[in-house]
């Protein structure tokens, strides 16, 4: 999605696509350099100024806690972060899950969410297949991203609380934003036309 959107406004390079094996793809004529990284690393590249701008989900920005400028909501990649539990082990209220184990890829966001409700939890950080947690007895609940809800249903899980909505965002490094303002701002204006 990111590369397609950028292509619409002429920001592209030969051989550029998100599954590219080449990590750095350059378009010398337009003075563009694309860096392909793991999603979780995008805020890190931008915060350090190794990349001037990046496109990444709001969930990843929040989880990383990185200090980056958020310029534009690109609207795609829509999903939400929620807490789910096995259907047959549902408790009466959210507070009833205090001090239980929650499996998640987003321990920072989850901790903030529960702490704001005065709840302490035991966070179990997993890197994928979060739904497995309650099935194998690793945790009582999960906090995860949901797009359609199919995976939840297939694993007999039920959403009990909505935590946040997320979409893809255009982010920028604070120094790049100031030193390359014209170029970055033009990009924002161009992209806005396609949203």
């Amino acid at each position: 999605m990111s590369t397609e959107l950028l292509k619409k406004i002429g920001w592209t390079a030969e051989g550029l696509h998100e599954k590219s094996r080449k990590l750095v793809i350059t378009n010398d004529a337009e003075k563009l350099k694309f860096i392909i990284t793991k999603t979780a690393d995008v805020p890190t590249y931008v915060e350090n100024g190794a990349a001037d701008i990046g496109i990444i989900g709001k969930d990843v920005i929040l989880e990383s806690g990185k200090d980056v400028y958020e310029l534009l909501d690109l609207g795609f990649g829509k999903c939400h972060l929620m807490m789910a539990v096995p259907k047959d082990k549902k408790r009466a209220t959210l507070e009833d899950y205090s001090h239980t184990r929650v499996a998640t890829k987003f321990p920072h966001i989850a901790e903030k969410f529960f702490a704001a409700r005065g709840m302490q939890m035991e966070y179990i950080k997993l890197n994928g297949s979060i739904e497995l947690g309650p099935i194998v007895g690793l945790s009582e609940s999960i906090v995860d991203i949901v797009e359609t809800g199919t995976t939840l249903r297939e694993n007999n899980l039920e959403e009990i609380v909505h935590i946040m909505d997320a979409t893809a965002r255009l982010i920028a490094n604070r120094v790049s934003y100031r030193l390359k303002f014209q170029r970055i701002n033009n990009l924002v204006n161009e992209l806005e036309k396609f949203l």
Binding site: G49, Y69, E70, V175, R178, Q182, N185
Partner: protein, 388 residues
């Protein structure tokens, strides 16, 4: 093998070469500050907690390193120098004639995690100019900041200048609640344009007002941007802020630093005490600001207005290194080797050369010529004198 002793999280050692580079920059800055008439002060590394949290707001408290004295009062390591200097000016210097021009060079402490190049102990040099509230004082501060980066060796850098009263005036003009103002400032500080726009839309202001508020972080550019900004505001506070920036810029032109200045009316800075112009300095290749400062007229309450800035020494060193302008600042001139017979002559020779201002290392034991040659090379001395 014995266990390696580590330093605490967020602290670092400076090895001789690094310490020499740091010292060289600090000396140049001290000389420059003094040439502008600023006098150095030294304050305690620790202060009472309430001294530090008084002006900076409570937000900073969780980032302070704290401890107790023998009476169980809470102490904290200073996290910046503006607040301790304000304390000094309101107490021991309170009868000194104004304006006061003070400078400092010290390490400061902030607990922070998970951020690039944000050490818990880091070094700052800076100045505070107290007792004058005109644009002339602010221009001197900007000119001195630019000059500081120049004497540190940086050629390519930019000073980004803003005025907090512009955004304040605009928010007051629209009768926003204190809670809404603090929320908007928070978005501006983090430059979260997405959340800012959502928040402003939810306020249901009239279209022009909403657009002006959303435009704040995009008011970035040369002097012409002040004209653009004028079209968005009607209130006196914002208009005065723009006039103030114009005056500062005119003076900066005379100082010869205007070519380094760009404007950004979205700059708020992370300390709450700023009340007028604010600025940050950036260099390509370093993803965070090298220096920052501004006017803070309320911190010293009814006492006096003030303005100033701080430079991050490690960050400037980093920028110099990335721009390839960190020369060898270690000045090692002569290594003296000698044989058994010449111990006395060697000491005399070394004393003579040191009196001439040369950096001289005298071998601690007699050596033959070959051994002396090896020592000279290993220790990086320019020249070898061998007494045989």
């Amino acid at each position: 093998m014995s266990k390696i002793l580590e330093t605490p999280y967020g602290t670092r050692d400076f090895l001789p070469r690094e310490a020499a580079a740091k010292r060289a920059i600090e000396n140049k800055l001290a000389q420059l500050f003094s040439a502008f008439g600023y006098e150095e002060v030294v304050t305690p590394t620790m202060e009472f907690l309430e001294t530090l949290t008084n002006a900076g707001g409570l937000e900073i408290e969780s980032n302070l390193f704290k401890m107790f004295d023998q009476n169980n009062r809470t102490l904290a390591l200073h996290h910046e120098m503006t607040t301790p200097i304000a304390r000094l000016v309101m107490s021991r210097l309170k009868n000194s004639p104004l304006p006061l021009k003070l400078s400092y060079n010290t390490s400061v402490f902030r607990f922070r995690k998970n951020q690039p190049d944000r050490q818990c102990e880091f070094y700052q040099a800076g100045v505070e100019l107290l007792g004058v509230s005109n644009a002339f004082a602010d221009a001197e501060i900007i000119a001195l900041a630019a000059q500081s980066l120049k004497v540190a060796g940086l050629k390519d850098f930019t000073i980004c200048l803003g005025q907090v009263e512009f955004a304040n005036g605009l928010m007051e003009e629209n009768n926003l609640s204190a809670a809404a103002i603090s929320e908007i400032k928070n978005f501006l500080e983090r430059h979260n344009i997405v959340e800012l726009e959502k928040f402003v839309d939810a306020l249901e202001l009239d279209k022009n007002a909403a657009n002006s508020l959303k435009k704040i972080p995009k008011l970035n550019g040369g002097i012409e941007i002040l004209e653009t900004a004028r079209a968005f505001v009607k209130n006196k506070k914002s208009l005065d802020a723009l006039k103030n920036l114009e005056e500062i810029y005119k003076l900066a032109e005379i100082y010869g630093v205007a070519d380094k200045i760009i404007f950004d009316l979205g700059i708020i800075r992370d300390f709450e005490y700023y009340t007028g112009m604010v600025f940050e300095a950036y260099a390509p290749g370093v993803g965070y600001s090298l220096a920052g400062g501004g006017r803070y007229d309320n911190m010293l309450k009814d006492f006096c207005p003030a303005t100033g800035f701080a430079l991050g020494i490690e960050r400037i060193l980093q920028a110099c290194e990335r721009q390839g302008i960190l020369g060898n600042v270690q000045n090692k001139n002569i290594y003296i080797g000698y044989n058994e017979k010449n111990i006395g002559a060697a000491i005399k020779k070394a004393s003579e050369l040191r009196a001439e201002g040369k950096v001289v290392e005298l071998s601690l034991t007699p050596q033959n010529f070959d051994a002396a040659k090896i020592s000279q090379t290993e220790k990086n001395y320019d020249e070898l004198i061998y007494l045989k």
